[in-house]
């Protein structure tokens, strides 16, 4: 212990501690994959976390102690764990060889299972970000795309690209990996510290919790800073560049969606315009045998009114009835916001009533139909099929955004709910017309 002094020893220790940051990677996987936990989610999630912490702490620290006790040295082309397994079982002859092999093979199998976390969680993070418009919305369409085929392929291709770039060097990869993990760790823990401090009174958070959270943040930030500064030239820069590019991409996607949102807002002036218009009157009751236009709407807004007027002018005097269909989407977010199912239905019905009033003003017999579901396409198709039985001479109308210069990017960024509905309806033998909503 002589020669380098306490400071030198502390520095070596700190360096090894932070470069071993790879050990803590994966703890975050449980919190990200909560959606696939069985109910009660929180209890199951916490229990998983506890098992994970205990098993990881014992295994990781146990391995470190064993490396020391067996006095093994790294061998070319072998992992330290396989050398350790040989050293531990070495005394048992042939049986020992088999035991060592079984140990390492099961480690390999466990790692293969672990890679699955990437496939489970990455699409879910992408879906969460897509909901907030940071990613193409189609990534949020988990149900539509079924197992998120595109996301999985994209992730797999990126994983292989990283493999090729690093030539399969585990040291380089672990550095990149822990930088990213500790970036989210630090941000999450900082956020939680802030949250705890802000809510310590109303949530009665004990000081101890805040202290542990703060220690966690300091540790994570320390490991992040040390790893980046120590390994910046050995892959550290690359992971920062890749993550930086992804952030820029997210910002660009968000900007695009916001631009489209602003353009669509202009249509809302139509609402005020039709409100001022005098009605023709003469709307009677709906006649089941008459020509019926079924329009899919969502909320009373410019887009819906625009489509309605479009149908009127495209098929003058053709339809007698207008049926407006709207779907309320149930999710846990809704319950958390304090909105109940009856309230959601009431919202949907209120906007439907406005459409019905509008159609009557234009001389059509009109009704509204609301539905509720967890998936908009499923619920809409279901409602439309039932309506078609009720009104055999009906046509379903839905709207889809059209851009003046439709690029490859537009096709990625704008999902085609209308076309998904259309495909299913056409299979049922129901005519569905998709009306354009031009975005300038």
């Amino acid at each position: 212990m002589t020669g380098i002094g306490f400071l030198g020893m502390a520095l070596i220790f700190l360096r090894a501690y932070s470069l071993g940051g790879g050990t803590y990677t994966g703890i975050e996987a449980v919190s990200n994959g909560m959606q696939i936990m069985r109910d009660p989610k929180v209890r199951n999630g916490k229990r998983t976390m506890a098992y994970l912490a205990v098993s990881l702490a014992i295994t990781a620290s146990g391995l470190l102690i064993c490396y020391l006790l067996t006095r093994i040295a790294p061998e070319e082309g072998r992992t330290l764990n396989s050398t350790l397994a040989d050293a531990l079982y070495g005394g048992f002859g042939g049986v020992g060889k088999v035991l060592a092999l079984v140990t390492i093979l099961s480690e390999g199998a466990l790692l293969l299972v672990a890679s699955q976390a990437g496939f489970i969680d990455a699409p879910r993070v992408m879906a969460n970000m897509a909901v907030d418009s940071w990613m193409p919305r189609r990534f949020a369409d988990f149900s539509g795309r079924l197992t998120m085929r595109n996301g999985i392929v994209l992730i797999g291709v990126a994983a292989i690209a990283l493999l090729v770039y690093t030539k399969g060097s585990i040291s380089a990869l672990v550095v990149m990996y822990s930088i990213n993990v500790f970036l989210t760790f630090s941000l999450s823990e900082f956020g939680m510290v802030k949250h705890f401090i802000l809510h310590r009174k109303d949530e009665r958070i004990p000081l101890r919790s805040i202290a542990i959270q703060a220690i966690g943040f300091v540790l994570c930030a320390l490991i992040l800073i040390l790893t980046v500064s120590e390994k910046f030239t050995e892959g550290g820069w690359l992971t920062l560049v890749i993550t930086g590019l992804l952030i820029l991409l997210c910002l660009a996607v968000k900007r695009h969606y916001e631009g489209v949102g602003a353009a669509l807002k202009k249509l809302d002036s139509l609402v005020a315009a039709v409100d001022l218009e005098k009605g023709k009157g003469g709307a009677g009751k709906v006649d089941r045998e008459a020509m019926t236009a079924v329009q899919l709407v969502s909320g009373y807004n410019g887009i819906g009114v625009h489509s309605f007027l479009q149908i009127c002018s495209a098929f003058p005097d053709h339809y007698r009835n207008f049926i407006f269909v709207s779907v309320g989407i149930i999710d846990q977010a809704m319950f958390k916001d304090g909105e109940s199912v009856p309230e959601l239905l009431a919202d949907v019905d209120a906007s439907l009533r406005r459409y019905v009033k509008l159609a009557r003003k234009y001389g059509y017999a009109a009704e509204g139909r609301s539905g509720i579901g967890t998936n908009v396409v499923d619920a809409a198709v279901d409602l439309c099929c039932r309506l078609h039985e009720e009104f055999p001479k009906s046509t379903i109308f839905s709207g889809n955004l059209v851009f003046s210069r439709e690029s490859f990017l537009h096709r990625i960024l704008h999902n085609e709910t209308a076309f998904a509905v259309q495909r299913r309806l056409q299979w049922e033998g129901i005519t569905n017309v998709v009306m354009p909503i031009r975005v300038r």
Binding site: I12, F13, A16, G20, T23, Y24, T25, G26, I27, E28, G33, M34, R38, D39, T48, Y51, A60, R71, P74, G77, L80, S82, I104, E107, G108, A109, L111, L112, V113, A114, S115, Q116, G118, F119, A127, V131, D132, D141, L146, G156, A159, I160, L162, I170, L173, N180, V181, T184, L187, S188, G191, S209, L219, I247, C250, I329, D331, T374, D378, L401
Partner: protein, 221 residues
């Protein structure tokens, strides 16, 4: 709908595609989410393994960086165990506050700012891509430890093939991919009713026009 894939007229490529990726799912099947959502045991294996498996490469990196000062491994072991418990504790709190998942992205968005959220989310996506590469590279490293050193150049190819295999398994559906890798013991257990908020929220979001200006769509605390 699936009939069109099974017809005699299907080309070789189509039949191969069917074999490898499985038949297209009937999107109208109401039980579809039961099949895609994971039975909790498998979820636990899949997600828990990610944390535990890092002991295959984490401690090794730390130990190698001690150089000749291996005696420090005692302290390193203690510090490692302590750090694991601290991080796990803080993430347990995150689970309590954000039970719908989303992890780092949601936490940063909700507690800090949207900008912090996008940084955290992007880092997470790259994190998970690296989870795949690191785990599979480490897995082949372990296996190749017992193969002749002359075979070393083949390692990267084996790794690439394994990643491709995982992609294929995942395209077949998340559930199957863990059932193949984990011992199947709970096939009789009741499937979890699918209650993911992502899917349902996604459903709402996918209606482009309703949500384009909606802020309500963001994830709740």
């Amino acid at each position: 709908m699936s009939g069109e894939w099974e017809g005699d007229g299907a080309s070789f490529i189509e039949r191969l595609r069917l074999k490898v990726f499985g038949p297209p799912r009937d999107v109208r099947d109401p039980g579809i989410f039961h099949k895609i959502a994971l039975i909790p045991f498998f979820a636990w294996v899949g997600l828990g393994a990610d944390g535990l498996s890092s002991s295959a490469y984490g401690p090794e990196e730390a130990f190698r960086n001690l150089g000749t000062h291996t005696y420090l491994a005692v302290f390193l072991g203690l510090a490692t165990a302590l750090t694991v418990f601290i991080i796990a504790y803080t993430y347990t709190k995150i689970i309590e506050r954000f039970p719908l998942g989303g992890g780092g992205y949601v936490v940063a968005t909700k507690t800090l700012s949207k900008g912090a959220g996008v940084v955290s989310g992007s880092a997470l996506i790259v994190d998970y891509i690296l989870t795949i590469t690191v785990s599979i590279v480490s897995s082949t490293d372990a296996i190749f430890s017992y193969l002749p050193i002359a075979w070393e150049p083949g390692k990267i190819w084996v790794t690439a093939v394994l990643i491709l295999l995982m992609v294929v398994l995942n395209i077949r559906g998340v559930k199957e991919s863990i059932t193949i890798l984990a011992p199947s013991s709970s096939s009789s257990s009741r499937p979890t009713p699918y209650s993911s908020s992502t899917a349902s929220r996604a459903g709402r979001e996918s209606r482009e026009r309703s949500s384009i200006t909606s802020e309500r769509a963001s994830i709740p605390i």
